[in-house]
């Protein structure tokens, strides 16, 4: 039995996650919610299987409770509450509170 190349597997997994989120965004904006959710779910599954974290820029775009692709105003509610941004998934009701960070230099973002 050949040895698994985990490093290579993780690289492909990372690429696939990015591809799937790109497609989820495309179909999500078109209004095909079902397909967008399916892609976000697949991306999450790939991430779990190969121990790959979903990159920071995509992390807030899906619900960690029910793995739906979140689109503000359509299936999630975004509110400013004090020093936090509160995002509520309308499907499962899970909410996230992210701190509003002070503006940094453009280079660090």
């Amino acid at each position: 039995m050949p040895r698994r190349r985990k490093k290579e597997e993780r690289k492909i997994a990372f690429e696939r996650i990015n591809v799937l989120f790109g497609l989820a965004e495309k179909y999500g904006l078109k209004g095909n919610t079902q397909r967008a959710n399916r892609y976000a779910h697949l991306a999450w599954k790939i991430g779990m299987r190969y121990n790959v974290t979903i990159p920071g820029n995509l992390k807030r775009k899906y619900c960690r409770g029910c793995h739906t692709f979140l689109r503000p105003g359509i299936n999630c509610r975004v509110r400013l509450t004090g020093d936090r941004i509160t995002t509520v998934c309308e499907k499962c009701g899970r909410f996230y509170r992210y701190p509003i960070l002070k503006e940094r230099n453009a280079s660090t973002k």
Partner: protein
């Protein structure tokens, strides 16, 4: 990046594809975008309708920049399992 070498392990959803040969003649010649994948099937969007095509017994032609022909029977894993199981 997806290439001829790692197509068995890489993401098929979103790629334009064509059925080259199949054990059922009705599938041959179908052309469209892959929109979903399960362990045993690929879902293809042909003229704005979704067609479910079995992987077993079917040969697909994917158009990356270059054209690659793929044996569907070798893709018969769950989409998330394909990275570690397919192409051994």
């Amino acid at each position: 990046m997806i290439s001829k070498k790692n197509i068995y392990k890489h993401e098929l959803i979103g790629l334009p594809a064509e059925v080259v040969s199949s054990t059922h003649s009705g599938y041959v010649g179908m052309k469209g975008l892959i929109v979903d994948e399960t362990q045993n099937t690929l879902v293809m969007e042909v003229d704005s309708s979704e067609k479910v095509i079995p992987k077993k017994g079917t040969r697909f032609k994917f158009s990356l920049p270059e054209e690659v022909e793929v044996n569907g029977a070798k893709l018969m894993f769950r989409p998330q399992d394909r990275i570690k199981k397919a192409g051994r």
